[in-house]
Symmetry: C2
Subunit: 344 residues, 2 copies
């Protein structure tokens, strides 16, 4: 949280002094960043590479809850989920612009704390913060981040390239962020009922961190390049495995088979889901915000990916357009169905 | 406003159907747009030109009031104010990504109406809508637009290039958007007091349109190119003339003299300001949202710009760093002071 000793009202400081404060420690990592903050627009030189651009919004009370989400983590997450979109194109994020809407109840220090998180993410992933707009909102806080990335034309991986018989792969493990959220919400409810109660977070570090401070899988994209595997299609898992599998099937005009017992899950995720009477694979299929990568590779690449660290083959693509099925351990086929708009 | 006959709840339609609906009529104007909506990121190919990027946010209850702001105009304005940032760099806007946060009280038709306005702006300015994120907000509506533009390296005009003795020029006329807002707020107050009262907007069309549906000055940027004048510095007027003059002075490390009686104002703006007991030049200096261009040119270009249609020379730059002065008609010097953060 913000430093509790100094609380400055937004109106005291003034807009231009605030902007100076927010951007003064910004480092520049990319040669392509010719002009960062401080003019009507940033200037980016991508020469013969192609520019990728994506936007993601996080809203208070919808995507995060100020009761348990530290502002610095919030800034970090807002940046990282955008980087994830660029990695999911097999590209490299290079610049971000930040839109911040914030009600006057927040202090200057609160905004600085959010920016501290954004800058930390930029430092870790070597992305340049090149512009922004900070404004008042009538109520609540929202962050809108647009990320710019680059990639060679021949390296870009779209969602529409999966072919029948391609192998379906996923990085890391799924459902962790969602079960982390279940713990946060349980402890919030307990705290609401009895403000003297201490929250019980011990032992849940892993899934809490997956929810509050996710990472983007740059390492997976780099590894695949090292072993010379270019996925035929790729997407990041923000809405849950089910949703993303359906996106790949729809865009690539194929179907797929996903083996339920191949879906990678952490032991703590499985245990927590069970504690909440949720079938663990449902947490992976419908719980969002894992930011792992889901991708397909040609059968020819099987030998290269089968033992790849932190990558699991969970199924294969079929010629049955739009038919995405889950194969249960007892060999039943269940159609995979879309979620979406859970926030509305 | 949205078609009143069909009202669809957001939750009925579902996220993916909504996205399909919003982007189905999107036309692509730029060769550089290789991939628009529909993947993790858009793909843009700017070859040997440089990429410009800027973001602007509009929030309900802060930047617009749903009582009098038609949704289509709102979408149009949100797009155009971003294009304006790219023109202010002497560039050409080419792509936008749209972030929309919207409370569940809004219908699908309302969102479509906003997008209709955004698309209209894109059609007029030949900008491609290449991505977006639409999400629920706890309350109210906000729009965050990031614009990507292009320019040849040698064409880009920054804020920091003004030199002493350069001429200070402004396009169009100032204060109109602000006086338009005064009228809207007066009629809203009257309506609140007596809902049976009809608002009196007759005769105010020009200033109301300047407030509700501003245009970006692409024409000025094109004209300057035609007559081979490259401004030494440029900025668009979003916060009022005073603020923008100070930006140019600060970034260029110069001072300036602005002649009050040279500030271009429309007759309706002057009359309306007077009706509200506001000195007209104050409306120009401190009233925002005109989206005219403020720029400096070298003395050598005087002959070229002096008769340029819809451009007025209002003063000149000096070597007195940071000293921006207004010269009144009776030859008094008044320091120009910053506004900013009026929203907080």
């Amino acid at each position: 949280m913000a430093d509790q000793e100094t609380i400055t009202n937004l109106s005291e400081l003034g807009e231009f002094a605030l902007i100076d404060k927010l951007v003064k420690n910004v480092k520049i990592y990319n040669d392509s960043t010719l002009k960062a903050v401080g003019d009507d627009a940033a200037v980016i030189d991508h020469k013969d590479e192609q520019t990728l651009v994506s936007v993601d919004i996080l809203c208070e009370g919808v995507h995060f809850d100020m009761t348990y989400c530290p502002l610095k983590h919030l800034g970090y997450k807002a940046a990282v989920v955008n980087f994830s979109d660029i990695y999911a194109m097999n590209g490299t994020p290079t610049q971000i612009v930040v839109g911040l809407g914030i009600s006057s109840k927040y202090s200057v220090e609160a905004i600085e704390e959010i920016y501290r998180g954004i800058r930390l993410a930029c430092d870790r992933y070597h992305v340049d913060l090149v512009g922004g707009d900070t404004t008042a909102s009538k109520s609540g806080l929202f962050i809108s981040i647009t990320v710019i990335g680059k990639a060679k034309k021949e390296d870009i991986v779209y969602r529409d390239g999966a072919k029948p018989n391609d192998l379906l792969c996923v990085s890391g493990n799924l459902g962790a962020a969602y079960t982390g959220l279940l713990i946060l919400e349980r402890e919030k409810a307990a705290f609401m009922a009895d403000p003297n109660m201490q929250p019980e977070f011990a032992g849940y570090d892993y899934i809490l961190e997956r929810q509050l401070k996710p990472e983007a899988r740059r390492d997976i994209v780099e590894k695949l390049k090292e072993i010379k595997v270019k996925p035929t299609s790729m997407i990041d898992i923000s809405d849950g495995l089910a949703s993303e599998v359906l996106h790949l099937c729809k865009e690539s005009k194929v179907g797929c088979m996903v083996y339920e017992d191949r879906i990678p899950m952490n032991q703590k995720t499985i245990q927590t889901a069970k504690d909440f009477n949720i079938v663990p694979s449902i947490a992976a299929l419908n719980g969002g915000e894992d930011y792992e990568l889901l991708f397909t590779v040609a059968q020819n690449d099987y030998e290269k990916v089968k033992d790849l660290d932190d990558v699991r083959i969970i199924g294969y693509m079929t010629a049955d357009e739009g038919q995405a099925n889950l194969i249960t351990p007892d060999n039943h086929q269940i159609p995979i169905e879309a979620q979406g708009f859970k926030h509305f």
